[in-house]
């Protein structure tokens, strides 16, 4: 008889490695299969990890993990073609451990988490692409890679946004373009001292910008700029359906973004280190597949777990949370020796109880709110017009704030009704 494992996990991203780590800790026989030559070789994100959930799994992870900086400054920038308006928030609380958020580079970070899983006893197999899930009597019983089969009680699909495995077994259909966003990112190298001086940072402090407005040429989405130790991650996330409608080219938009007056001085003198792109599952609750079937669970991006409310893009923390929940469910199933969907039902329950699903529910309205064109043109223009009126002294007598605000609203072609409706919708969905 061929060898059989307790669990086969497909994909050594954060969801997969977190699940492998937890299961191996409990002594289960776990195989973690990754198509890249090492974990992280295929993975890309903006890079701000909200780290509480990782700290629960690996206490004081930051002492050992290759983190770049801990984020102390959160900035939101509203930009028009020529101008920008920043809101800068710094709280010393963010420099206390366990850090609220840290910046990471997945090529290094996922490799580390994969190694942690290995140290805990998981068998990491890189450089192998799983071609499909082996199904017998409507039950997942293993995986096929090339001409090899491998069997296990449970298969965990942690294979990312494209999840061909979840699709193959019918847990999800083809994703709609309205539920996907395209993320493009450039990593720009700069000396450490330059970054600290330029962004007013002390030591390993870091800053995270969320950018709304002209960055995406009216396409729903936003920009980001995050500091690492010796590099800056700059990128855009744009809804795929609107890219298709408008014919806007991601590669051109990011090039313009780098040249924007807000971004250009921050990356001046920098050297491109890498150019990448990745899909983001942004449909929220509406795109989430069923999470379990007999013998199989779906985690992380593969399960559509991500939150983007315009200010922050999150998926890494949700991926880790789902990986851990899947592992706990397998441990429960193992006790009963029942790996059917019913036996694995603790996964859905643990997810429902965790911050992951709670946040997915809280932000259920965010994807629709983000599709509001006014966010990308009218509002940034209104803010810029107001700031210009306040600070631009052209000899004309100054007015009080209220008439200035009214003028800005009018100039940006907004109605008071729009403002009221968007304000209410924003307050409800963000």
């Amino acid at each position: 008889m061929e060898e059989k494992f307790d669990v086969i996990i497909v994909g050594a991203g954060l969801a997969g490695s977190a699940a492998a780590y937890r299961l191996a800790q409990e002594g289960l026989e776990v195989v973690l299969i990754e198509r890249g030559p090492y974990p992280g070789a295929k993975n890309l994100s903006g890079g701000v990890l909200y780290g509480r959930v990782l700290n629960d799994l690996i206490p004081e992870y930051w002492k050992d993990a290759p983190i770049e900086r801990y984020i102390t400054n959160q900035r939101v920038a509203f930009i028009t073609e020529q101008a920008f308006f920043n809101i800068d928030f710094k709280n010393q609380v963010f420099s206390q451990t366990p850090y609220n958020a840290v910046s990471v580079l997945r090529g290094k970070f996922d490799r580390w988490l994969g190694e942690k899983a290995e140290e805990a006893g998981a068998m990491l197999v890189p450089g192998i692409r799983v071609d499909k899930v082996l199904i017998e009597d409507r039950r997942a019983v293993g995986v096929v890679a090339g001409d090899e089969d491998m069997r296990a009680d449970v298969i965990i699909a942690a294979d990312g946004a494209n999840s061909f495995l979840a699709q193959q077994v019918g847990l999800r259909g083809r994703f709609e373009t309205g539920h996907l966003a395209v993320g493009v990112k450039e990593l720009i190298g700069l000396p450490r001292e330059t970054i600290e001086e330029r962004f007013n940072l002390t030591g390993d402090e870091g800053v995270a910008y969320g950018v709304v407005g002209f960055a995406t040429r009216g396409v729903a989405g936003g920009g980001f700029l995050y500091t690492n130790k010796e590099s800056i991650s700059v990128g855009l996330v744009m809804h795929l359906d609107e890219l298709i409608e408008t014919g806007v080219k991601p590669a051109e938009v990011i090039e313009d973004f780098l040249a924007h007056p807000m971004v250009a001085p921050l990356i001046r003198g920098g050297k491109l280190l890498e150019y990448g792109a990745h899909l983001v599952p942004e449909g929220g609750l509406a795109m989430m597949p069923r999470l379990a079937m007999d013998g199989m669970l779906v985690t992380g991006d593969a399960a559509g777990l991500s939150v983007n409310n315009g200010f922050v893009v999150r998926g890494m923390d949700l991926a880790i949370a789902s990986g851990v929940a899947a592992a706990e469910a397998v441990l429960e199933a193992k006790k009963k020796n029942d790996f059917s969907a019913q036996g694995l039902s603790a996964y859905q329950r643990l997810m429902d109880e965790s911050f992951a699903m709670k946040d997915m529910r809280t932000y259920a309205g965010a994807p629709a709110f983000m599709k509001n064109d006014r966010l990308y043109e009218a509002y940034p223009e209104m803010l810029v017009s107001l700031m210009t009126q306040i600070y631009h002294h052209d000899g004309a007598p100054k007015q009080h704030l209220v008439p200035m605000v009214m003028k800005s609203i009018k100039e940006s072609k907004l109605s008071l009704f729009d403002l009221a409706v968007d304000g209410l919708k924003g307050a409800r969905s963000l």
Partner: protein, 94 residues
């Protein structure tokens, strides 16, 4: 930062090319017959697709494996799969 062209940017990336095993194959007859958007030509962040003499060509070596083209293509013209294990783009940073 100096402006760079897309091919220049991609040339900085690390790839392990699987010579002779394209992971993207376009059935150009389907494209010509039914595709209205030709979305692949503009959505691809790596500029992999071009139209030459009315035919869609995929210069797959520069692909960063995001899957955008596959999701955007309105037909079944694209047969797109991940490169074989160990091959394709290799993010050093990610």
């Amino acid at each position: 930062m100096n402006r760079m062209s897309l091919p220049e940017k991609l040339s900085i990336n690390k790839y392990e090319l699987d010579e002779g095993h394209p992971h993207i194959v376009v059935n150009t007859e389907v494209c010509s017959a039914v595709c209205k958007t030709k979305a692949c030509l503009f959505v691809c962040p790596a500029g992999v697709y071009s139209e030459q003499e009315g035919k869609i060509i995929a210069d797959w070596a520069g692909c960063v494996e995001c899957g955008t083209c596959k999701a955007a293509c309105p037909t079944e013209a694209l047969s797109w799969e991940y490169p074989r294990g160990g091959f394709g783009v290799i993010y050093r940073y990610g």
